[in-house]
Amino acid sequence: MKIGVVTFPGSLDDSDARRAVRIAGGEAVELWHGDADLRGVDAVVIPGGFSYGDYLRAGAIARFAPVMTEVITAAKGGLPVLGICNGFQILTESHLLPGSMIQNDHRKFLCQDQVLRVENASSAWTNGFEVDQEITVVLKNQDGQFVADEATLDRLEGEGQVAFRYVGGNPNGSSRDIAGITNERGNVVGLMPHPEHAVEEGFGPSLDGRTFFTSVLQQVVSA
């Protein structure tokens, strides 16, 4: 089972995402921003970091990379895509997911262990969870405040597209405590916290992050 991890200039958590894929039992494949080629992978992770420095808007420039043209087409065809942090921002800039991220309401970079509640346990990346399960992963970002207009928020909630909510206080002002969402089809998931930093004993707050990767491996096998 091959899972591609995209590297942009300024990607930071790409090696971590590849490690998480391996720990979950998948084969991690490096994808390069400048190549319009997905190298036959069964799923794609767009990792965290500050692509192109995030100077304009987080994810704004990465969206125009050649590899993203392929990712966008494949995602529309049902390929599982997970965007973590900067990856989530890139997915919203690419219009694969609705809404956008703005600066945290407290205007600081915030790194902390974060409890999330699973709201959708049927997407490609969350089917190994139970609805209402609480998980602990790492939150770390500067522009993590999820925003969307009211109609979009209502629709996300109504259609079960809210995948995760923050528990124990909203860490950044995100609308309706939303930490992660999926598209309608459930193959594309974006979330601000980092599951790839909760996969290894002794190197993160929990092992809860593994389920993201085992979920997609499971789904790809049964598909």
Partner: protein
């Protein structure tokens, strides 16, 4: 060399943490006449030679595709920077 200004602001309905922080800090400086502050981005694009309509059209395209995200932002302004604008002579910053 010609220059084109593109101004981008967060949509009015989107909360602006940066603007709010400024708003909160002003009274501490004894500046309490401002009822609201919004912070946006200003881009200055340079072109070789005079600014043409074609340049302006391209600048508008850049503004709408790259320089702003329509989900949260509005492009409020795309115009040539003419030399009678104060821009050319900074009103502060002589020293430093």
């Amino acid at each position: 060399m010609g220059r084109i200004v593109v101004d981008v602001m967060l949509k009015p309905e989107i909360l602006d943490p940066q603007g709010q922080a400024v708003r909160g800090a002003l009274p501490r400086l004894g500046l309490d006449q401002f009822t609201d502050v919004r912070q946006g981005k200003r881009f200055v694009l340079s072109v070789d030679g005079e600014v043409t309509d074609e340049h302006l059209a391209k600048a508008r395209e850049a503004a709408e595709t790259l320089l702003s995200n329509p989900v949260i932002e509005d492009v409020v302004n795309v115009h040539e920077l003419t030399s009678d604008e104060p821009e050319q002579a900074p009103i502060t910053g002589a020293g430093a």
